[in-house]
């Protein structure tokens, strides 16, 4: 009997201690407001007959599991020229619209450029800091990283598309290979993206094995095969792996007659996917919100 009393006392002390510890841990890990992951994205939004332009992009945010608020609007001071509509799937899907990691939920909002015809040319629009409105009326200022909306018109060179493959690999790089065949002699005049500097060494881009920095001025004969290989491999830092990247480099070609053509390289992106509770906690600490 005496022994059982001791067991009970020890057990109860352990329980109360673990309860206090758990409550402390939960309060420590609780977020005051949603945390948006950084983005370095480029999106060509010009409407042009015959060419598809991706007019939407998404932002991922971390919030407390069970947070009933959702994003209703995002506005970017200085980018009033473009209208956006925002859909947060957690507004209509109670639990299916989020990934759960411990006591955090990862949700993705879809942002669409709603202007029906963005056909006039404009200077690239930079979206960095935005004002997010939540369903309960709260607003918060968010650093989204850097999203650039461009308006490149496309005027394809005479190439014959052969194939395009894409695969993820163990080093987290999302590799892409596109193969074309030149229908006439072509010179690659330039390759540009406003995000080349931001991505720096994370981006690898090769044409027929020639690295990005030596690409300009490459010559191709008629019937030459042009193989473009791209990959985005974030650095090991969480801040980098938990960031979304997308570039759409603009290639400028010159044909035999001296006419210039432009072409956008698509599908060069990386979206964070290897989330873990420990990683998220570490990331939030790095961001200074825990």
């Amino acid at each position: 009997m005496q022994r059982n009393k001791i067991i009970l006392k020890v057990g109860l002390s352990m329980l109360i201690l673990s309860l206090l510890l758990s409550i402390g841990l939960v309060s420590y890990m609780r977020l005051d407001e949603p945390v948006f992951l950084y983005n370095f994205k480029e999106s060509n939004i010009l409407s042009q007959e015959g060419y598809y332009s991706k007019r939407n992009f998404d932002f991922t945010y971390i919030t407390n599991l069970g947070d009933s608020r959702y994003v209703t609007a995002i506005s970017f001071p200085g980018a009033e020229a473009v209208e956006f509509s925002v859909i947060d799937p957690s507004s209509y899907l109670s639990s299916g619209a989020q990934d759960r990691y411990g006591q955090y939920a990862l949700r993705t909002v879809n942002v669409t450029v709603t202007d029906r015809d963005v056909t006039t040319s404009f200077d690239p629009i930079e979206l960095r800091n935005g004002i997010v409105t939540l369903s309960n009326g709260e607003t918060m200022e968010v650093d989204f990283g850097r999203v650039v909306l461009t308006n490149h018109g496309q005027n394809y060179p005479s190439v014959q598309f052969i194939s395009s493959t894409s695969f993820g690999s163990s080093d987290q790089a999302n590799r892409n290979t596109s193969t074309f065949k030149a229908s006439e002699a072509l010179t690659l005049i330039s390759i540009e993206s406003p995000l080349f500097n931001d991505l720096d060494s994370m981006l690898s881009l090769e044409i027929n094995g020639v690295d990005l920095k030596d690409i300009e001025g490459m010559l191709f004969d008629k019937d030459d095969i042009i193989t473009v290989t791209t990959a985005i491999a974030p650095t090991e830092q969480l801040n980098s792996t938990y960031t979304a990247y997308e570039v759409q480099p603009l290639l400028t070609w010159q044909d035999e007659n001296g006419d210039s053509h432009t072409q956008i390289l698509n599908n060069i992106n990386y979206r964070p996917y290897r989330f873990q509770l420990s990683g998220i906690v570490k990331y939030l600490k790095e961001r200074g919100v825990l």
Binding site: I7, L12, I23, G66
Partner: protein, 203 residues
């Protein structure tokens, strides 16, 4: 005594296997605890001792607790999962439940001792100790899995909780079947009387 133990068994059974029809509980745990309270009152009348008395208070405390939570959850089903503190309410409930089970088992050990069944007394003492250890471990798992939202561990802990409740019911059933020899029940009162001071000093 037998009827008291049977009521506790029935009450714990109702608490463990309450039927839910969607979000609506047909028999909320509060009814189970009401039956348990009746059972403990009967035990106390037949064999008054401090552990049974404490068990009675604890059963009433849980009755009150489940009454409040049933009412709150009926009007606001997500109330207990919304706050970081309130989501630990199952652990608080578990702690009171453990204290209740301990008091009933300790009181029953005194009862078995009064029947001069030494082997059974020893067996119940050992089982009580094991029950407490398993219960505490299960609550520790529950506490941390709530903190980390490990739904698999929460389910595991709920299943273990049901198994522990079934074990407790089996012990109640065993105690309820004990035959009380009239001559022994006479010394029964003397024995508890002798135990009372010792119990009080321990409190």
């Amino acid at each position: 005594m037998g009827s008291g133990y049977k009521k506790i068994l029935l009450g714990i059974f109702m608490v463990t296997f309450h039927i839910n029809l969607g979000p609506i509980q047909i028999v909320p745990p509060v009814f189970g605890w009401l039956v348990v309270t009746f059972g403990v009152t009967e035990l106390l009348e037949a064999f008054p001792n401090t552990p049974f008395r404490n068990g009675g208070y604890l059963a009433k405390a849980i009755l009150f607790y489940t009454l409040i939570t049933s009412v709150v959850e009926f009007f606001n089903p997500t109330f207990f999962s919304s706050s970081s503190m309130l989501q630990f309410s199952p652990v608080i409930y578990g702690i009171i439940h453990l204290l209740f089970a301990y008091q009933i088992l300790e009181g029953s050990i005194l009862y078995v001792r009064s029947l001069k069944m030494e082997d059974l007394e020893k067996s119940f003492t050992t089982r009580t100790g094991t029950y407490i250890i398993l219960y505490v471990v299960n609550m520790l798992v529950l506490s941390f899995s709530i903190a980390f939202h490990g739904s698999m561990f929460i389910t595991m802990s709920a299943i273990t909780g049901i198994i522990l409740n079934i074990w407790f019911m089996m012990m109640m059933s065993e105690l309820g079947r004990l035959e009380v020899v009239p001559s022994v029940s006479g010394s029964d009162q003397d024995f508890t009387g002798a135990m009372e001071p010792a119990e009080d000093t321990e409190e």
